[in-house]
Subunit: 437 residues, 4 copies
């Protein structure tokens, strides 16, 4: 966890305090269920809830763990310090540490997913508003970094919206995958504990019972969860790269909002760098790096080995905290992105009219010129624009072979921008009105 790339709400999920609180709730609910089943005395179950408002002492638990070298035993020992050794003696009965640890991890991941889903809503909201705002702001579309044909800024925002909406749907699926708990004992057979306890505790903790567990909840669920975060991070990178390109000095079609006190460079005061989106590019790599170890965690030995644990101590907080930060940062960037429509037009006209070449090619073909010839005609005029700065329309009008096929009015009509934006509304309907997935 890198403090500068973290938000308190998400960080709190991964604090020892939150962890112990969830442990406590699981143990307490399990006691309730055990008491209901008559396995343990009701009074002992009730006694556990006396610690309901206790803030557990992390330092004390660590101290005990230093001796026992076992975290759950350390916690239970500490709990007994609060509610009395005698009252505590049925706590954790029939359970194994992993029942607590794994169910807790999934509670944390579910909560993290809920924050991330809210983040995505914020981002989707920003993208949608900017899309509508710039629905008709014409800019040049580029393939290979080279001018292609006109598009609009709104379409750019709209496609990021659609991509993030897919990301949200994936995250919802990943959240559902991870929303299971297990209280099934040492090897998952419920030998020492009735499946009812699992059902009861899961229901209380907002989870479903894991249909079949070993000592642990199967790690393919977690692999899928982190893989999903990796895909979303890659989509963040996608938006970030677009903005970084737009802010290049030579392009300057947009800029990240630059607050008054901000300094761009210690040496070059005129600089306004797209540092937020560059940062997002790096954060995407950080989130993505959780994917492979999460997959390596799937193949545990027999009913479990503990190799996954240290990995998850790293990636679970790190990937969720970083992604939470990144989604929020990106929402802010999109929200406040300064757009320069004039520069968009100026860029589009850098090579005068050249971006209309495909239309002319088609028109020639439709006027009966063979595809090969049409291509040759268009290319020879295009090259004059490219190399000598000529105006494409004028060159076409002066090319006898071209005018033999197309009238001046027909040529003129090919340079109408509206031709390129005529289906923007259709696309917007697809993205914003129907299910965009």
């Amino acid at each position: 966890m890198i403090p500068r790339y973290s938000r308190p709400e998400m960080t709190a999920i991964w604090s020892p305090e939150t962890k112990f609180r969830i442990w406590y709730e699981i143990e307490a609910y399990a006691c309730d269920a055990q008491a209901e089943l008559g396995v343990i005395p009701k009074s002992n179950a009730e006694a556990v809830w006396r610690a309901k408002d206790v803030e557990f002492d992390v330092a004390r638990i660590d101290e005990i763990e230093a001796v026992t070298k076992h975290d759950v035993i350390a916690f239970l020992t500490h709990l007994a310090e609060h509610i009395g050794a005698d009252e505590a003696r049925f706590v954790h009965q029939g359970m194994t540490s992993s029942d607590v640890l794994d169910t807790t991890l999934n509670v944390q991941l579910v909560r993290a997913a809920d924050i991330l889903l809210a983040d995505m809503d914020k981002l989707l909201d920003a993208l949608k508003r900017r899309a509508i705002e710039h629905k008709d702001t014409v800019r040049i579309g580029r393939s290979h970094g080279i001018h292609a044909e006109p598009t609009t800024m709104g379409l750019t925002f709209a496609r990021f919206y659609a991509e993030m909406a897919r990301g949200k749907a994936r995250l919802q699926a990943a959240r559902a995958e991870i929303a299971t708990g297990a209280i099934s004992g040492a090897v998952g057979t419920f030998a020492n504990i009735d499946p009812y306890v699992e059902e009861y505790v899961c229901e209380k903790m907002g989870l479903r019972p894991e249909p079949i567990s070993t000592q642990v909840i199967p790690r393919d669920r977690h692999a899928m969860f982190f893989a999903t975060l990796g895909v979303i991070a890659s989509s963040i990178e996608n938006v970030a790269i677009e903005i970084r390109h737009m802010q290049r000095t030579e392009v300057l079609e947009a800029e990240e909002f630059f607050s008054p006190g901000q300094k761009g460079s210690s040496a070059m005061p005129h600089k306004r760098n797209p540092v937020l989106t560059e940062n997002l590019t790096g954060l995407a790599r950080l989130v993505r790096m959780a994917v492979v170890p999460a997959m390596e965690n799937v193949a545990l030995w027999h009913e479990r080995d503990i190799s996954h644990s240290s990995v998850e101590r790293g990636i679970a907080p790190d990937a969720t905290i970083t992604l939470d930060f990144a989604l929020n940062r990106l929402a802010g960037v999109v929200e406040k992105l300064v757009i320069y429509p004039d520069n968009m037009l100026a860029n589009m006209n850098k090579f005068k009219g050249l971006v209309m070449s495909q239309r002319v090619l088609l028109a020639l073909t439709q006027a009966g010129v063979s595809r090969e010839d049409a291509y040759r005609l268009v290319q020879r005029n295009a090259m004059k624009v490219w190399e000598q700065g000529k105006d494409f329309k004028e060159e076409l009008l002066a090319d006898a072979e071209v005018t033999a096929a197309l009238s001046p009015a027909e040529i003129e009509e090919k340079f109408d921008l509206g031709y390129h934006t005529k289906h923007v509304d259709t696309i917007f309907r697809r993205v914003f009105e129907s299910n965009p997935l």
Copy 2:
């Protein structure tokens, strides 16, 4: 693609012949739609279908591409050689190469997914049958590679079934993600082609129209697809590792089927190595390595750059072919796996009765012994079994502190295996009767 790890059905999807066939169908259907719209003459659209039964000449197309350095143009040129340059002149009109390439890739991925789904059904079927067969075959459950408590071989198969069933559901989702096509032109604006063409062609090719594309279909879809394959591969590794452990000389609870002519080693003729599951462990790594580059492919520049293309030429065939092979190999391994129930019992009893220690611990606690004391009592007797090869039950019966709390009959009862398997039916119901996800 590694020939020895590939099956013809999947390999065929990625052959140049298949690719050109799909290109052809897309172009032909697009002509139909264009003719319907009145954009091109009906006769020209019909003429394209004259090549319906042609097997395109891959060598000839390569030859043309060597000159044009553009694969789609090379194909179109070759198509014209079949149906006549004049009839062919409206083919591809208003389209850009990526319309064909990207839609084709997704057709291929969808077909690959369909094969993989059938593979998974085969594997699920094998796992289910072996699970039922060995529902009550008792073996020791192990955590950390150390004996824990009894479980059954059927539960092991059942949990792999549940894991693969999740994998199948994920693959169905990934298939749905990837089942889109785009015919939206150079920058995705439909400037030169009506959205109807996209709708028409997609419907014919078994795809949905991409709600918003640029020159290409957004690569987050592909990233999710390959990430899903990576998770499934990791689950294969999980099963493979279990079998490799079971086949260890010291464990020998199962063996891969060893066909008569097969030689285990050029040097040690007695050896029967779990080479298939070791191989699957490696194949899992190969599939998984597609995940990160697929994610790196998401952030393309503006309306597209072509960096993703070479990556996909590698990973699309390689990951699907390898996973197809691996799923089939694993299905075969599971189907024919030789199980040794006697060895399972022998292993379980290696440290006589020790695996029942948790039951005794619980019984002591419930008999009023403090958790701390119970732990100490169990541990001191357990250590004698562990270190001196004593029989756990006998030691307990001879321990005055233990017998002060538990009667001989109570102690005896703790060593009943049925205690551990009493919920197997419940778990099987969860896995096989209700939705196991």
Copy 3:
């Protein structure tokens, strides 16, 4: 291996023919050594060399393997078909399959490394020539994609030269790492074969004996090898990204060479896309994806498991073939890259004089203005250039607070380009004359 991204010389290393040839040589040299030791009859060793000029029949060996399910036994059986079963009976004596397989793999990797080293020399040569050619071609340096201060195109080439020279040194180290062979028997103890055989064969095959092996050569060596390829691939991406940026329509400081017959786009004939460097960006991802599985291969079980084998069947040819292709492609791109010095100047002057702001800032500080004030003075004039298209020098000359600290001549002097290039020769000396690593 993707045919379109492969070169015959490298592909040949990974052909079955080459593999069997190396197997043969290892077996034959081992017989020589065994005969020398008196372990096998000299005549049998000599008999093996009768197959010296045989091209082994791959199809026949595959046929035998289909029965034996063991590749080395299949080969030995086939070899016996050539030299006679009786003469062949001492071949492979005391050896285990891995002795042959692992030593062969390393011979192949060493040969692959030699080709890659030659490729790097070609690339280094091209970079050096272009660096010298454009040593003084001034262009704007950019940080964050934003204009910073002037640099030269030669420095850009020179830094890629230095980076690739480091890559070459790393590859030499990786080659040395991998240049070991092992003929140490089933578990590496030389129980059935004298270490002399290993020494003899390794010397003949251009390898060093592995100091301590198990059944296999330790895989940390291979992990290091593929990691090194991954770093070199990343450096290729670095150069490729630079060129792609330079070729952007708005920047156009360089273009990949565009051969006469080449078509940029099926739709937009004016387009010249940086497809080679985009392709290299993708190829870098393909090479890099070998790194993680190669590392996952290190931890084999006990004296070996065979999980690494399938991985290496994939990544060993794929990564070396792809990198070989990429290095050659990049050498060609650099060699023929079309540079536009005029555009470089035009870009630099897009915001008139603004790139000199740091010099002015320093001059003000040295003239006694506080750093804070100097920063404020520079920034307020810079903003007028940035936002209103003013000329930086003129604004400074008109700013009384500035001219209070600097005379017009002093201001004028700050706009001298030579100021920025005065250390280019020093840097070139560092890079090209001394050890640049």
Copy 4:
């Protein structure tokens, strides 16, 4: 950074206090060099050293950065608070932030490498001692997890020693790679600062000047550094997996040291789990996950973008801290590993005499039996041992076809263990006396 997997010495390198201290030293030495060159007054350079014993106030610097949004400016502002604004006004002159940041990062990485090298020495020392201690402790070698031929525990330790010695040599190379500094200004041209300053500061900080930098030190160096850590982590995993296998209940040839107070399981008091080496397996994944993002960091835009920075804020501390912890943990595990030679012998004899099958095979061949026949003879007797628990030697002695070729004494001699260990001294000499790389 995960507190439970970190050691203070390494963590300290990455504290803000250490970072600011290094920043300070770089700035102060740069002033010395600038004063020597006559660029700034000597008294100002001297004034900077007045802060020599200051512990910089991290909270205060953060406070300033919250306003300026620029960390180096924040630090310089704070420095001025200590030495006076007037005296401080030449600090950082001609430098750019990255001069400080990048040189600092490399100082930190070099120091981290030095700790890691010391860790490796500790581990090497432990491995060597245990290797010598168990040079002749015979155990069965295993390939594919299946018994192969005898080896010794000393050879196992010796090969891990050789592997870690290679790791150390690689780390030394990686340390050399990363031991460069750069003070070359905004785009690396030394426009505003003399190369002498770079040389002077680097020499003082224990670095070499980067031959050619841009605004930043090229990231291929860092990619190589982290790749090297990833390979070492994979070697740690290799040792960890071996120990985990040895500690399996059915194998039990070794155990991690189990301290008196330690509890293996909250439920099963008899359990001694190899939790340290399982943990190391996970830690290896954590270190390895830094490799790919470090490679993705290489291709920065033009003279730099800042995407690498957030990645390095994560991976630089995390990977070095985790690896440092892992190396120390592993050294401790190896040091104290409890070895069970008796269990090794018992395991080896599980299938009586079977592991000698290769010797018998060879003997038969050398006695004139064809390889095919010898194989058949050995296999048929081996199968009786495998399937019916017979004694291999007795079966051979009772097989007329075998005794036709080998006398009883000859058969007897094949079961001598010394045969397998006769070259152990040779291998030890290779590993410990000569250069083992």
